[in-house]
């Protein structure tokens, strides 16, 4: 008789989206745990300390970066690796992370494990990042910098004029500011290659 079935029994027979209630609860909690772990892991890989845990990064690009204004400046605001190289919003971030997982393969293969090998690949790697930034209208730069937040009076004449021109022509940060935090490699491009990055 239906009424005689215990409350628990009834509950256990209830289905949510085809799963038993217990199953659903396990999935739910599991989901939270997984989600938390996933995001924790993603955030963990979004720390500068993680980025430079590979000597490839620590010995090359990181050393160069520590000599630039994005690392050390008057007011102590620091932009770390992910601030420039990883999107802030979730969707773009996950896409970027998935793409970046290819680096694991190259880590194992030792693609850039000596300064010489790194230098040989430098332009190719830089170009990839320049392309990404152009495609997003330098989104990561713009998380902090904005044309309409600039005070032209506080800029040197050369910068003032350049920014005026950039606004007029709809240019984006990376059009001019290539290699600001690393060794400049722009001049290694052939003229043909350079055309791709002309504003």
């Amino acid at each position: 008789m239906p009424e005689k079935q215990s409350f628990f029994r009834r509950l256990s027979k209830t289905k949510i989206l085809g799963a038993s209630l217990v199953g659903a609860a396990v999935l739910f909690v599991g989901g939270i745990v997984f989600w938390g772990a996933f995001n924790t892991a993603m955030e963990a890989t979004n720390e500068m300390s993680f980025c430079i845990s590979c000597h490839e990064m620590e010995n090359n690009v990181y050393q160069e970066y520590t000599k630039t204004i994005h690392y050390s400046n008057r007011s102590g605001v620091r932009a770390t690796c992910p601030d420039c190289h990883v999107p802030k919003d979730w969707v773009h971030k996950v896409v970027r992370k998935i793409k970046a997982s290819g680096e694991l393969y190259h880590k194992v293969m030792g693609s850039v494990d000596t300064p010489e090998k790194f230098d040989a690949k430098r332009l190719e790697l830089a170009k990839r990042e320049w392309r990404r930034m152009r495609a997003s209208d330098s989104r990561e730069c713009r998380n902090c910098h904005a044309f309409d937040g600039m005070n032209p009076e506080a800029q040197k004449p050369r910068a003032r004029k350049q920014h005026e021109n950039a606004v007029e022509d709809g240019m984006t940060c990376i059009d001019c500011h290539k290699g600001i935090a690393h060794k400049p490699v722009e001049d290694r491009m052939t003229e043909e290659e350079a055309k791709e990055f002309e504003p």
Binding site: K156, P157, Q162, N165, E186, D187, E191, A194, E198, P199
Partner: protein, 337 residues
Amino acid sequence: MSQRNAFTLGVAAIALGLIPAAAFAAPDWSKVPEVETVLFYPGQTALEWVMNGPDHGGARSFVKKGDRCADCHAGEQADMGGRMVTGKKAEKQVIPGKRAAIPLKVKAAFDATNLYMRFEFPAGSHADVPFVQGGKMDADNEIKFAMMISPEKANDLQQRAGCWSTCHDDNRDMPSAPDKAKLAAVKGIDTSAGYVTKYSVDSRTALVTSGDVRGSFDKLKPAAELDALLKNGGFMDLLRWKSKGNVSEDGHIAAERVMTGGQGVQFDGKKDGNKWVVTMTRKLASTAPGDVSLEAGKAYTVGFAVHDDHANGRFHHVSVDMHLGLGADGEIKAVKQ
């Protein structure tokens, strides 16, 4: 004595070399306003370097947007000079101890006949040039002072770049300076000194601003077109003072640099304590080839250079382009007498 008689007498006196022209009819400089600019050490930043994007952040704005060098660089010349003089940028032959920049005070006045200018800059100390025997490139002249004037009809690039329009990557001691064989192959300019001098942009069929070898010394226009340059503004007037013997020269730059041929100019300069003072008198109007005929009410692109401390060739200090207004607007406003 009537004014005209006085004038005739004056001209006769100059012609006879009795008194230096500057002493004649020179304005009361204490009444003429002073403009201060800064000459800086340019290293090997030729026109081709300036027009090349990867080398120069301002290239696009200069080439495509029509900006003047001064639009971006006026006021920061001393910092710029510091980058080249130390070899941080665009300089392979560093001269330790050479100054990065020289402040230059300029005064200008004019009357119906002449343009008068007065220049003053601090004397510096000597720095031995390590790659020259004796440490001095031009042992005779401690200082050479030069001024370029761009004709009104000159092309837009020359008007905006000033002196830079004549300075090229294949000039003497520049990165693309040609070897003897290449020099010997080019006809139409004098290369007997073993190098290519400055040349105007209009004297060449093309400008080579990128690649490993830049410059256009061998892309000379045909002779007939070169002759026409002096009439249609494709040149720079060049006036120069040399400290040894207080010598004045009046030349021009078109297919190459020529230090003679102008109507003449009278400089008078000397070291006065810890500064150099150079005055200049030049007739406004001229029909001599390679001279700019100056007119009241107009402004001209000019540039200045000091070969400091026995320097030669490219090892000078230069101004960015400036506008000299004769009763017209400009960074330097010549006052009417």
